[in-house]
């Protein structure tokens, strides 16, 4: 295990110097740069949501039936929904949930998928068969029934009760866990493919000839060369996860009202699309912009990580 620590330290050291360069390159990739600013803005707004709520004296859960479907005004800058709740605040609180779920699930999927893909691709043979059959198995699972079962698990009956699991956060963590459990397969298959071809490259043989252990080869030679598919798959998955969360919420398996998420705001707005189009436009725009920004960011990162890139 000291070997693992050493390898990880090695990679960190290597990237410490290069991190600046990657950032500099990223800042020269215009779409990625603006996307980063947009995402930072969304994140900041989401983080500041409670402060904004306190400032305006509004509560996203406050129902005011006299003010149903109010148009935008100074008091409610994006108007109110069918229960008279402030749409802007709900959007910000929804952003907290949606962005957390998307980032956490995408990152967790990427980590699990990368580890499994690297092991399968590099070691090949029996390890590969085993891990890839596992992956195929997960892909072949009928997703919705599985999710319904997972979402229905009552932790208190498993003796896992407690203040944490009873809180609102429980459904958040549950949904991250569920999405991760089924989401890692894409990254795993892409990384396996990359590792399979990379391990045949001569620099891997050269690294073995320098006395590098398999673990070191995987961490400091295969992984850095497989960054591109990981980034592409992960940034693309962020969009999917936001949409997936909305599907789950729509089915009553995801984030439960009154807690808002972009997904459940969008599904709630369905019946009112003709009477109050704004209710679907705002969360829809938020999802659209976030997904597109992540895709641009992925593009930029991919280029920034490529040493042959001419942006320097």
């Amino acid at each position: 295990m000291t070997d693992l620590a050493a390898s990880v330290r090695g990679v960190k050291g290597m990237q410490g110097v290069q991190a600046l360069q990657v950032l500099r390159r990223l800042s020269r990739h215009r779409p990625a740069f603006y996307s980063l600013i947009l995402l930072a803005l969304f994140a900041a707004l989401a983080l500041l949501a409670p402060a904004l709520a306190a400032l305006t004296g509004l509560d996203p859960a406050d129902v005011d039936l006299y003010q149903r479907l109010a148009p935008p005004s100074l008091g409610h800058i994006l108007g109110t929904d069918e229960l008279g709740r402030d749409v802007f605040l709900r959007l910000l609180y929804g952003g907290r949930v949606s962005l957390t779920v998307a980032l956490a699930a995408a990152a967790a999927s990427a980590i699990i998928g990368t580890a499994i893909g690297l092991a399968a691709g590099y070691f090949g043979g029996r390890t590969d068969s085993l891990l890839m059959r596992l992956t195929d198995g997960v892909i072949a699972l009928p997703l919705l029934p599985l999710l319904i079962v997972l979402a229905a698990v009552d932790f208190s009956k498993l003796g896992l009760g407690g203040a944490f699991l009873d809180s609102d956060l429980a459904s958040l963590y549950r949904i991250i866990l569920i999405i991760t459990l089924v989401g890692w397969t894409t990254v795993a298959r892409l990384v396996r493919g990359a590792a399979l071809s990379l391990r045949e490259r001569e620099f891997v043989l050269a690294a073995s000839a320098q006395g590098a252990s398999p673990l070191r080869i995987i961490v400091s030679h295969i992984l850095p060369n497989a960054v591109t598919p990981i980034i592409v798959a992960t940034t693309l998955s962020v969009g999917n996860i936001i949409l997936f969360e909305s599907v789950l919420s729509f089915l009553g398996l995801g984030i439960q009202p009154p807690v808002s998420s972009w997904g459940n705001m969008l599904s709630n707005a369905q019946e009112l699309i003709w009477t109050a189009p704004g209710l679907s436009i705002w969360p829809g725009m938020a999802i659209f912009l976030t997904v597109i920004a992540f895709n641009f960011l992925g593009d930029g990162l991919q280029e920034a990580f490529d040493p042959k890139s001419t942006r320097d």
Partner: protein, 333 residues
């Protein structure tokens, strides 16, 4: 063989398993040689004759479907074929530290997404457990030693930012970082320009003298081998067919194949319409029958040559040939 040899290979046989796991295809058979510290053995042969496979088996880095089926390798008093793979006492501790290898194409043997300095520093980290910044400084010194100008800057360069010659120098710096006692050079100059080629050869010889390294120099280029090797082993179809001190081999080849190889060398001042070539092709290892591997292409072959395989036998002091009808050389006593 000799007691002073650094590496002693005896009867080494290597086979590759086919796709359907049926019969194993021999890639090298009964290969024996030894190299003393400070000496260079040139291993010569056509593509596919088993040179590289032999080299990789010394490092125990054969591809997964390749297997050493017989023989023994003694390196610095250790039987490497029975060493464990992992750990400082195993093969991982030998590779890069005591035996190192440089490859044909430095462009593909360097990791494209890591800086040259980091890749050299990694060797120090693996074997000396140096901290990264110390390892980095040692890497810069090493780059300086192999004659790379402005080593500080070059250490921060990526492989694609260097020329072919510089990449090969960097590769040599990486291989020799821990001052190994054996260097395996697998066609180190084949991918380079002729002018750069001789600079690289000079560098290898210079570092060899400085570090008293044994070198196994693999090449299909006889001219290059003549320049660096003390002793030459000629491989054909997986076997060593002739072994002799370099000077003697070129002056008086005894195996018909060696002679044919030397005859194919283009010579300055002898304009030719066509370069001489050896007729026929190397026999397919899968359908190889009995008899001498070269019999089909040999002008001197007779029934015996097609019937049985000649063994490598010493026919004079310090030279050996595997042929029933070795060429007569009056100079041999």
């Amino acid at each position: 063989m000799s007691d002073t040899a650094l590496i002693d290979v005896e009867g080494l046989s290597i086979a590759f398993s086919g796709e359907d796991n049926s019969a194993a295809i021999p890639a090298a058979e009964d290969v024996s040689f030894s190299i003393a510290p400070g000496k260079t053995l040139g291993l010569v042969g056509e593509s596919g004759c088993g040179k590289s496979v032999t080299a990789l088996s010394l490092m125990r880095l054969l591809p997964p479907n390749g297997r050493i089926t017989g023989g023994r390798i003694r390196f610095d008093g250790r039987e490497t074929l029975s060493l464990p793979e992992a750990g400082a006492a195993g093969m991982e501790g030998l590779r890069g530290r005591h035996m190192a290898m440089i490859f044909q194409d430095p462009g593909s043997a360097l990791n494209p997404v890591a800086t040259v300095g980091d890749q050299i520093a990694e060797v120090f980290e693996i074997h000396y457990h140096l901290a990264r910044d110390v390892a980095r400084q040692s890497a810069v010194k090493m780059l300086d030693r192999v004659g790379i100008p402005d080593p500080e800057l070059r250490a921060r360069s990526y492989p694609h930012q260097l020329s072919g010659g510089m990449k090969q120098r960097a590769m040599i710096a990486m291989a020799l970082a821990c001052r190994p006692s054996l260097l395996i050079a697998d066609e180190p100059t084949t991918a380079l320009d002729v002018t750069v080629q001789s600079q690289i050869l000079d560098l290898v010889v210079e570092l060899q003298n400085e570090m008293d390294m044994a070198v196994l120099f693999i090449s299909h280029n006889l001219a290059v081998v003549a320049q660096v090797a003390d002793e030459v082993a000629v491989m054909y179809a997986g076997r060593i067919v002739e072994r002799a001190p370099a000077r003697d081999l070129f002056a008086m080849p005894r195996h018909p194949y060696t002679q044919a190889l030397i005859a194919t060398l283009p010579r300055l001042g002898h304009p030719q319409q066509r370069f001489p070539a050896i007729p026929g092709t190397v026999p397919d290892a899968r359908v190889r029958g009995k008899g001498c591997g070269f019999a089909e292409r040999c002008p001197l072959a007779d029934a015996t040559c097609h019937e049985s395989e000649p063994a490598l036998t010493a026919d004079a002091e310090d030279r050996a040939v595997a042929c029933f009808k070795p060429l007569e050389t009056s100079a041999l006593s």
